[in-house]
Symmetry: C2
Subunit: 390 residues, 2 copies
């Protein structure tokens, strides 16, 4: 196990009845709030009105940053910084899924820097302090509610890149599983695929002795596999929604990667798909992951993939470990396709072969020449994985 | 799943090379340190000298509270408070296992209250603030390095009771698995049994829908079962020591009990054994747990115990679920007895039948009349479990 520091101080307020604590939690940090949200679903659900009422009853001044996109764009961060500065705000309440929270983190750091927010994402500038952030999560997927990072899209440069800073870890996050009752089957499936992908990116590593972390990762994968189909069939099943929501936080808050080197593989490949075609991130991850695992299956990785099959899908171990590993991959593919009803080819989400080469080149370039994950992937490797996913 | 708040902000510095950060971490909080430790093993190992050198090089003033007992006694807390007040200290560095850290937490809270420290333990006084604490862990067992509670013994009243306060959560903990290389086989086994007991106290609950938490608990149990015997046979096996050490923190830091009601059962019974006979806590837990599970096995609990056997020990599920559950219990007993070489009867640790009645009465009384765990245990139930353990 490698040396590591684990320091995740986000206070999680989980359950049906936590909004009563919202004003008190905000007032630990500030009283002039930027309320950031997305396309208005929080207005339809009544959550927006509930928040505004709490603000008014508690003399909390607020301004709004609305319309944050599903793949959040740097323009929204520029607008957020402008609103913060013009109104001398001291706290950000991000209400939404990962995109809203990710974007809010960039705003929280950018407001203290005399540069364009995009400079932070491309590492021209570094966050040295940030406004405190609280979140109210409306979609279980990215884990942004309990981690310090985010992913931002720049449509002009066709880039979708990750950034992070310890200063942008949320101070608190309110997780009410009931809020996710209105998430439709497609986005529930995409969220579960995203949680599973985070878990697998942390799980698929070689010979690092992080046994406990891998057993915990398997527990999270089993949770997603058990409750994903239930949440799709019964959107108001509290047990399913609560398990998926809590899993979203632990898949990516850092516990699963403690003691390991976990440079990710599938996310950098998927980011090009959604940067070029604006597809749903979780769907892209589901499509690519089984093809990625098939592509990297070799003498070095076979035990790792076989363990995944045995411990997560109950594959019966046989003499033929390659066959066991292939069964593991087939189980994963089948789970996404049949149990979660995810379109499992790029063609079904509107991606043909025209830009595969360009995307593969970009994926390699954005990872510094090649993706250095559990197995190094150069441009041609990435292209093969894209082609296998058509 | 029940509503909950999870807020574990302890910064964990894990690995071989973290002492370099000690002075910086302390100076985030203070510069006049109470150095608390136990019986002097840290002097034999060289850790004491290393710490003093760091203090001297960084102009950190310090006073010592030494000789804290394995079942820490309230007298030590009184002494600690006196040293703190006389020297105007502003930080406590607890170097040791759970007993040293537990005692230090009581001192940290008691110094701000005008009462005897024991009043806190018996809930006559309440901690409202506390001095900041850092820890250097030398034994993987109690999880005190990442939780807010402690257990204190009062020899005069023959009481061993738990207390806790959010203010006494350690600010940071340094976990170096190499420090535990010198822990002998007996105490390694007792530590692993303690970690497993914490996990099982959180795991054995009924119908709460906390599926993910139970899968994570199984991951921690599998980690203990896998590495416990390795750490005993190869005390300098870093992989084994690091997995056990990291497991110790997660067994009890609150994650496994999120969303559940988890009043504990075996700990209150064991606390009387070590209050009356001063036996090693983890050994007492190992002896009692299989007898406890056998005693509570019934139509309500059979699925829970069977799941434990299937998911942790790989018991093949059969038509006869009671038999499967009995196999689970037998596997646990066999693991402690044969793989961990733990004496599995009270007789072997010097406890005969003379005080069983008195201890059973005390265990019930200290839990408010009866132990309200997964199954309620009255005095007579506790007595039966003690008798079955003779």
């Amino acid at each position: 196990m490698r040396d590591f520091i684990f320091n995740v101080s986000t206070k999680i307020l989980f359950g049906r009845d936590q909004m009563k604590n919202l004003a008190k939690e905000i007032k630990n940090y500030g009283s002039r709030v930027l309320l950031s949200y997305g396309g208005g679903s929080i207005k339809r659900s009544g959550l927006y009105d509930e928040i505004i009422k709490i603000f008014e009853e508690n003399n909390i001044f607020y301004k709004e940053l609305s319309g944050i996109e599903p793949n959040p764009r740097v323009e929204s961060a520029r607008e957020g910084v402008k609103i913060l500065k013009e109104n001398d705000l001291d706290f950000i309440l991000a209400v939404g899924g990962g995109s809203v929270i990710d974007l809010s983190k960039l705003v929280a750091g950018a407001v203290f820097l005399d540069c364009d927010p995009w400079d932070i994402v491309i590492r021209k500038a570094k966050i040295e302090k940030a406004l405190p952030i609280g979140t109210i999560l409306t979609l279980a997927a990215t884990g942004s509610e309990m981690d310090a990072g985010g992913v931002i899209t720049n449509p002009e440069t066709k880039q979708k890149l990750a950034f992070g800073s310890p200063y942008t870890l949320p101070k608190f996050s309110i997780l009410n599983p009931e809020i996710t009752y209105t998430v439709n089957a497609k986005h529930t499936a995409a969220g579960v695929a995203d949680i599973m992908s985070h878990t697998m990116e942390n799980y698929f590593t070689l010979k690092d002795g992080a046994y406990m972390q891998n057993r915990l990762a398997e527990g999270i994968l089993k949770t997603c596999i058990h409750y994903g189909p239930i949440a799709m069939a019964e959107p108001e099943n509290y047990e399913a929604r609560s398990n998926i929501m809590w899993a979203s936080s632990w898949a990516i808050n850092g516990l699963l990667s403690t003691g390991k080197a976990t440079p990710w593989s599938v996310h950098p490949m998927e980011h090009e798909l959604s940067a070029f075609y604006d597809i749903t991130h979780g769907i892209g991850l589901a499509i690519l992951t089984p093809r990625f695992l098939s592509y990297i299956l070799n003498e070095d990785t076979v035990d790792m993939i076989r363990d995944f099959g045995v411990n997560v899908f109950g594959v019966e171990p046989s003499e033929d470990k390659f066959n066991d590993a292939k069964k593991a991959i087939a189980n994963l593919h089948k789970f996404f396709e049949q149990d979660m009803n995810i379109p499992m080819t790029l063609g079904e989400v509107g991606i043909d072969d025209k830009k595969l080469e360009e995307m593969a080149e970009a994926a390699a370039r954005h990872s510094g020449g090649s993706i250095k994950g559990v197995v190094e992937l150069k441009k041609d490797d990435i292209l093969e994985i894209y082609k296998a996913s058509l």
